[in-house]
């Protein structure tokens, strides 16, 4: 029965995807991609991926909409009407042929949910078995993320770190000749301060979002959650504050210097925990030696590196938001 629900949701997902590409109005595209993210998260949940769905929820609903809208406010609201058709016809033919080839190839794919598929033969079951004895936490996803595949996650954290630094480099420069300029910057009351009802309700929500973010961060070993989701949630709470009270007040709460410290600090914390493994006579990112009891040591290492991940993700997402907002208020 869940397969039928999945098929319905996938159909909605497809329609949304096609509508996103088809519409000329960029604002509509952004709105529809918000919907796309909601539907995608529901699909992930049906496919047993609660952690992934939580990540999509934390990132897709708030932050990506805010970032796309602020980019839109600076650049353009409408796509230009296409001038020549030949380009699109060629693209359409290429895309159609490739779709047909891909669909043809799906008949050779393993059956949906097949226990004999190659995916379920190698390391997957091994992780499921070893987690209980080596780390002893319920959430296998967190265990694989932090401990078994700690290198991967370290790499991903550094990609996020690099992207944040890249945005700061790109948008930290002086405004270009065609920058929209902002005549309202000094006179206009910033944020939504004079919208009383959203302001009151929003201010009430912020502590709950922060609290929930911390819950997700530290409950990640036992339920869906972890550093990536928590970082996105905490960043979303601060962004909500910035929207309600104006960006300048949000910068007073967490100044730019602190944000840069967070970006670097989280990645450094992760790396340092890895190095401690070497100092104590084992391999890089092997947490077993952090304490006399290996299981306990693994759990300690996991908590530390998840904290590092959370700090970096919060710092990067908030810095990106502030860099965009400083470029032109949306």
């Amino acid at each position: 029965m869940t397969v039928i629900f999945g098929v319905f949701l996938l159909t909605l997902l497809l329609i949304t995807g096609i509508a996103i590409v088809q519409t000329q109005n960029l604002f509509v595209s952004v709105m529809l991609s918000g919907m796309f993210s909601l539907l995608l998260a529901a699909n992930f949940f049906l496919l047993d991926a609660a952690d992934v769905a939580l990540t999509e929820a934390a990132v897709g609903a708030g932050i990506s909409t805010v970032l796309l809208l602020s980019a839109l406010a600076i650049t353009a609201k409408h796509e230009k009407a296409p001038s020549s058709n030949s380009n699109r016809v060629v693209a359409l033919i290429v895309v159609t042929v490739t779709t047909l080839v891909l669909i043809y190839s799906t008949f050779d794919n393993p059956r949906f949910g097949d226990p004999n598929a190659a995916v379920h033969q190698h390391v997957g079951p091994w992780y499921m078995e070893k987690t209980a004895e080596a780390i002893d936490i319920p959430n296998v996803v967190t265990a694989v993320l932090g401990s078994f595949r700690g290198y991967d996650t370290l790499g991903e954290v550094f990609v996020v770190f690099t992207a944040g630094i890249g945005v700061l480099f790109l948008l930290g420069t002086p405004l270009g000749p065609f920058a929209p300029g902002n005549p309202y910057k000094s006179t206009d009351p910033k944020g939504l301060r004079h919208y009383l009802i959203p302001r009151v309700v929003g201010r009430m929500l912020i502590p709950f979002i922060l609290l929930f973010g911390l819950y997700v961060q530290f409950h990640g070993e036992y339920g869906p959650g972890g550093g990536f989701q928590a970082g996105a949630l905490i960043a979303a709470a601060i962004i909500l504050y910035a929207l309600l009270e104006g960006e300048d007040r949000a910068l007073k709460v967490i100044p730019r210097g602190v944000l840069i410290g967070l970006i670097a600090g989280g990645a450094l914390l992760y790396g340092t925990v890895g190095l401690f493994g070497i100092f104590l006579g084992s391999n890089f990112l092997d947490y077993s030696v952090l304490s006399s009891d290996t299981v306990h040591a693994q759990q300690m290492g996991l908590i530390l590196i998840e904290a590092g991940v959370g700090i970096t993700v919060t710092g990067v997402l908030l810095s990106i938001f502030h860099a965009f907002a400083a470029r032109g208020k949306f």
Partner: protein, 90 residues
Amino acid sequence: MYYAVIFALIITMGLALARAIIGPSVYDRVLAVNMLGTKTVLLLAVFAFLLGRPDFLDLALTYALINFIGVLAVLEFFRNRAAKQPGEKS
């Protein structure tokens, strides 16, 4: 026992999607997105029970908390656009 409500929710999501696609004004689309957000929260909550893992309500909780930000961002976007281009209506 959850099937009826899940079908109602999914069909309503389809209706909201139709409203988002046909518009006509941007406000209709925002309304549709907002509605779809509420439906998703409820759907995820019911799914958590359907899949027999009611401890996964965190997801629905996340959406219940976060959806608001998108609407506020849109509101701010409109307000600044109105301030910049007083004549434009959409």
